[in-house]
């Protein structure tokens, strides 16, 4: 090594190094001396000053979390409450024989191995005389069992905490949502001072949307603590301001009827008051128990819910996007009338299929041999596809797309909940942007019968139904009816919001699409007459829809029996009642339900019957 470095003078370098090491050593000793001086200054010179400060430090500031606001339905039925939840806690230092205590406890209440396991693990990380929870959420029976025998278990006690509870459980999971433990992402988002002492936060639905109102204002108290940190007395107290109580427009009984009407089928129902936008029922089936999420859902249970093929966690009413099918034919008809493409009384011959000029492709009608001679009334009543193919070809996609947009197709309704999706209103510009392709004339035809690219949520369909019912007056659907005042009495009613209305040049154009909707229900050739309209005691306006889940070749026949269940058509219905003075607008979707007339319309009828006549099916 050294031979390669003739100029390296080992001896001189070593001397230099020694000098440097000594210098370094001196610096180190001096700096340590500085630390010593500093600590002497703190601990000896200023000792009494800091000693006083330390004494005064026995006063501690504690946060008092506010009780969360309650949620009621429109009739004052409690939908979300704060309930004491009882848990069994153990102070290890006061227990004589832990194993014996656990053995005797398990004869009184249901203690499973995983609970004992978790308990033993949390024992390791505890402070002296700290109570460790053994079993959460005692049932009333377990509580009573233990209370009677409490004297036999020194060191074991019941603690009450306040926990959110949803008495209607599954029925309202998709509307109200739930609260859960504040997670890391939320921790970064919220004001940690406002949430001091609070463990739960709204995760979904109304609980999430109205978090600000429901949460309230945190309070504080100054307490004196002893050397063990136990509170000796409260010196000063600024009580928390409870969260505001909400009253929803929902009618929980109507909700139950609607849920029942679906009879176990997967789907969604939205019912609203077209006059003010109040949502009366919003159902998405299947559903789940929101109470599971409040205390932290076990991983297994959550995975079962998430991987469930029927997707109970998915809110179909707001997040489900479906081809609207024939339910939007009135809108297309109205566009035709407004642009002078059709006249309501002019007949055309609707065969079993339609072809574009210079094209051999056949655009088929749902009825094999067509509907014969039809005018607009019959085209809606019997849902002729060919009539609308012909009209839309002459109307063109640009005018049709613009007119559907006026009703809010492809635009979120802005409902006061979470997870709402926008659906899709196809247009020439949209297709160029999304697919980089020009618009083909054939796509105009299938758009006119609500197929192809077009998508809508059940909530949007209810909103469109409401706009039809009000002859163009739109209203933003909302779940909040009002907020209770701080005295718990006064109701601050939420003001309805009215987006720009759909205006038509001649008022009779409304009649020309709305009267056929009554014929759908009440004329023997109507698509919902047999299944839903025939024996109704009041006038209903409605429209059925059946939307394809998968495409058929133009020479193929759709045969319900031979198609797998998950590929079967979606059944849809929109409508309102009473037809001459609408008070309820409804949209129904049944996933893979088959025919809209046979399956979806009777569901809507049951909901309307209860609302109109209080008849329970």
């Amino acid at each position: 090594m050294s031979s390669r470095q003739p100029i390296k003078n080992q001896h001189q370098e070593q001397r230099l190094f020694l000098a440097r090491i000594i210098t370094l050593g001196v610096i180190i000793v001096l700096l340590f001396g500085l630390v010593g001086v500093r600590l002497t200054q703190l601990q000896v010179v200023n000792h009494s000053h800091f000693s006083t400060l330390s004494q005064n430090n026995r006063v501690r500031l504690e946060a008092l979390p506010p009780p969360r606001g309650l949620i009621y339905d429109r009739n004052g039925v409690l939908l979300a409450e704060n309930r004491p939840a009882y848990q069994l806690e153990v102070i290890l230092e006061q227990v004589d024989n832990l194993q014996d205590t656990l053995d005797r406890l398990s004869t009184l209440l249901d203690l499973d191995a995983s609970e004992i396991d978790r308990f033993r693990r949390s024992l390791r990380g505890k402070r002296p005389f700290q109570a460790v929870p053994l079993k959460l959420n005692l049932t009333d029976e377990e509580l009573a069992n233990f209370a009677v025998n409490r004297h036999l278990f020194p060191g074991v006690d019941v603690q009450a905490r306040v926990a959110r509870h949803y008495p209607h459980g599954e029925a309202l999971a998709h509307v109200i949502g739930y609260v859960g433990r504040i997670d890391e992402r939320e921790l970064a988002r919220i004001d940690s001072r406002r949430y001091a002492g609070t463990t739960h936060i709204g995760k979904l639905g109304v609980e999430r949307y109205y978090e600000d109102q429901l949460h309230g204002q945190v309070g504080h108290q100054k307490v004196e603590v002893n050397a063990q940190g136990r509170i000796l007395r409260v010196l000063e107290r600024e009580p928390p301001v409870p969260g505001r109580d909400l009253v929803l427009s929902l009618d929980v009984r109507l909700q139950a009827v609607a849920q029942e009407a679906l009879d176990g089928m997967a789907g969604a129902i939205v019912a609203m008051d077209p006059r003010n936008g109040e949502v009366l029922a919003m159902v998405s089936m299947p559903t789940f128990d929101p109470n599971l999420f409040v205390h932290g859902i076990p991983v297994r249970t959550f995975q079962d819910l998430r991987n469930n093929r029927r997707q109970p966690l998915f809110n179909r009413a707001l997040s489900g996007q479906y081809p609207p099918g024939s339910t939007l034919k009135m809108l297309v008809g109205l566009a035709g009338l407004e642009h002078g493409v059709i006249r309501a009384d002019r007949m055309m011959f609707a065969a079993g299929y339609y072809t574009l000029p210079n094209d051999t492709r056949r655009y088929r009608d749902w009825r094999r041999h067509g509907h014969g001679w039809v005018d607009l009334d019959k085209a809606i009543t019997q849902s002729s596809d060919v009539y609308f193919y012909d009209m839309s070809y002459r109307l063109g996609i640009d005018r049709m797309s613009e007119f559907l947009g006026r009703f809010g197709v492809g635009e979120a309704t802005g409902i006061d909940s979470t997870g709402e999706r926008r659906g899709l209103l196809p247009s020439r510009e949209w297709k160029r942007g999304a697919h980089g392709m020009p618009w083909f004339p054939g796509e105009t035809l299938i758009t006119s019968i609500g197929q192809g690219y077009m998508l809508a949520t059940p909530m949007q369909l209810a909103s469109i139904s409401s706009t039809l019912a009000m002859r163009g007056q739109r209203v933003r659907p909302h779940l909040l009816r009002g907020v209770l005042g701080e005295d718990g009495e006064e109701l601050h009613v939420a003001e309805p919001e009215f987006p720009p209305p759909v205006q038509v040049s001649r008022s009779e154009h409304w009649d020309q699409v709305l009267i056929p909707m009554e014929h759908v229900m009440h004329r023997p050739n109507g698509t919902a007459y047999q299944s839903a309209g025939r024996d109704a005691l009041y006038r209903i306006a409605g429209k059925t829809g059946t939307s394809q889940v998968f495409g058929l070749a133009d020479d193929e026949e759709y045969d319900e029996a031979s198609v797998a269940k998950h590929l079967r058509d979606h059944a849809l219905f929109i409508g309102f009642a009473p037809a001459d003075d609408p008070r309820i607008a409804v949209a129904v979707l049944v996933e893979n339900g088959g025919s809209g007339g046979r399956v979806a319309a009777p569901v809507a009828r049951k909901v309307m019957d209860y609302f109109m006549l209080e008849i329970t099916p």
């Binding site: 100029i7 700096l31 630390v35 000792h47 800091f50 390791r124």
Partner: protein, 371 residues
């Protein structure tokens, strides 16, 4: 000098020798670790789980010490530039793909282990600067000082940008001290010092907001008693109220009543000072000084330039740890997030420290074998 013949007696010492360990260094470290456990028990609120986890870390770290002690320094020297290059790549990796923890990008997720490359650089940088000077005639010329300075500053700046000022400071210190030990002339040193004074305002400009706040808080902690100043105020109260003899083990009100933040990690010294008083503090300082001086002795007795410089740097880095931590906890220095070595709860720095002690022991014990 200190051990010479004395060490050749007894079976225990023979084993220690065979394992390439150093009794004095090992004894000092073990004593500090033992005291650390005693304080941690109190600081964590008598939490046995915390002690258990710290015990596991010490076990792992001690294994690494044993391994490092078996590797002769000339091997380390050959690996130095590669280790350095790998470290720089990892730092760039953290910048691009790193996991964000507590607002800073320091972690690299390698699937099995989460890894903090900046910690690794605390050893890689001194190894490389020592390697750079090893075969050059000393004292170094000006250009060589600049080159070595670049070797130090590149990783230091990368780490400071994460942002992790505490580790950047330690890495920079570990490299710069080698330039000093290599015998850089005093006038170059003075010139660089003057340059640093000029550069300070520029550095201020590049600091993150929270870093500036810490410096300002140091100058006047009472200006923000519930925010950034809270740590310093509470820790000064803890230390000051401890007095000459302390409040006694488990009786520190500041720490037991949870007024003191981060009392198991960066501020554990305040717990110690509160419960054991100035007497305990002086004992602790002496122990740390013993370990540091032992390290410097090993550096002095090392037989080649590389070992000498490396041993000197590792001992000095250990000192910087102790000084910066005690300085920040007692309000002498800004809060920069440096743990108290062998005391603070936490795994990453423990492993690096013990690896450094392993290297020191190897330098000491492989000496005669090489000669």
């Amino acid at each position: 000098m200190l051990n010479g013949t004395a060490e050749e007696h007894g079976l225990g010492r023979a084993i220690v020798r065979a394992l390439h360990l150093d009794l004095l260094l090992l004894g000092g470290v073990a004593l500090l670790l033992a005291m650390g456990f005693v304080v941690l028990y109190s600081a964590s609120g008598e939490n046995l789980d915390t002690l258990y986890r710290q015990g596991v870390r010490v076990g792992i770290a001690f294994t690494i010490l044993m391994v490092m002690a078996q590797i002769p320094a000339h091997h380390l020297r050959q690996w130095s530039p590669w280790v350095y290059a790998a470290g720089i790549l990892l730092l760039l990796g953290v910048m691009l793909f790193g996991e964000v923890g507590k607002g800073a990008q320091r972690w690299l997720d390698l699937g099995v282990v989460r890894f903090q490359p900046s910690e690794f650089m605390k050893i890689a940088v001194p190894m490389t600067v020592a390697w750079y000077f090893a075969d050059r005639p000393l004292p170094p010329r000006f250009l060589e000082v600049v080159a070595a300075g670049l070797l130090v500053m590149v990783p230091a700046v990368l780490i400071a940008k994460q942002p992790d000022l505490g580790t950047a400071l330690l890495v920079a210190g570990s490299g710069l001290v080698i330039i000093f030990l290599a015998g850089v002339r005093w006038r170059i040193l003075m010139g660089l010092g003057a340059l640093a004074l000029v550069a300070a305002p520029v550095l201020w400009h590049f600091m993150q907001d929270y870093q500036r706040r810490r410096v300002l808080t140091l100058l006047n902690p009472e200006s923000d008693p519930l925010g950034a100043g809270y740590h310093i105020i509470q820790s000064k109260i803890a230390i000051g109220s401890g007095g000459l003899y302390g409040k006694g083990w488990l009786n520190g009100t500041q720490s037991q009543l949870e007024f003191l933040p981060e009392r198991s990690t960066d501020f554990i010294f305040a717990v110690y000072a509160e419960e054991f008083g100035l007497m305990g503090v002086l004992l602790l300082l002496s122990l740390y000084l013993l370990v540091i001086l032992r390290g410097l002795t090993i550096a002095l007795r090392a037989q080649d330039t590389y070992s000498r410089l490396l041993a000197g740097s590792l001992s000095f880095t250990f000192f910087v740890y102790v000084f910066v931590n005690m300085g920040m906890v007692s309000g002498l220095l800004p809060v920069v997030g440096v743990p108290l070595p062998l005391f603070s709860y936490g795994g990453t720095s423990m492993v690096t420290l013990m690896a450094a002690f392993g290297i020191l022991m190897s330098i000491n014990s492989h000496r005669r074998l090489l000669a």
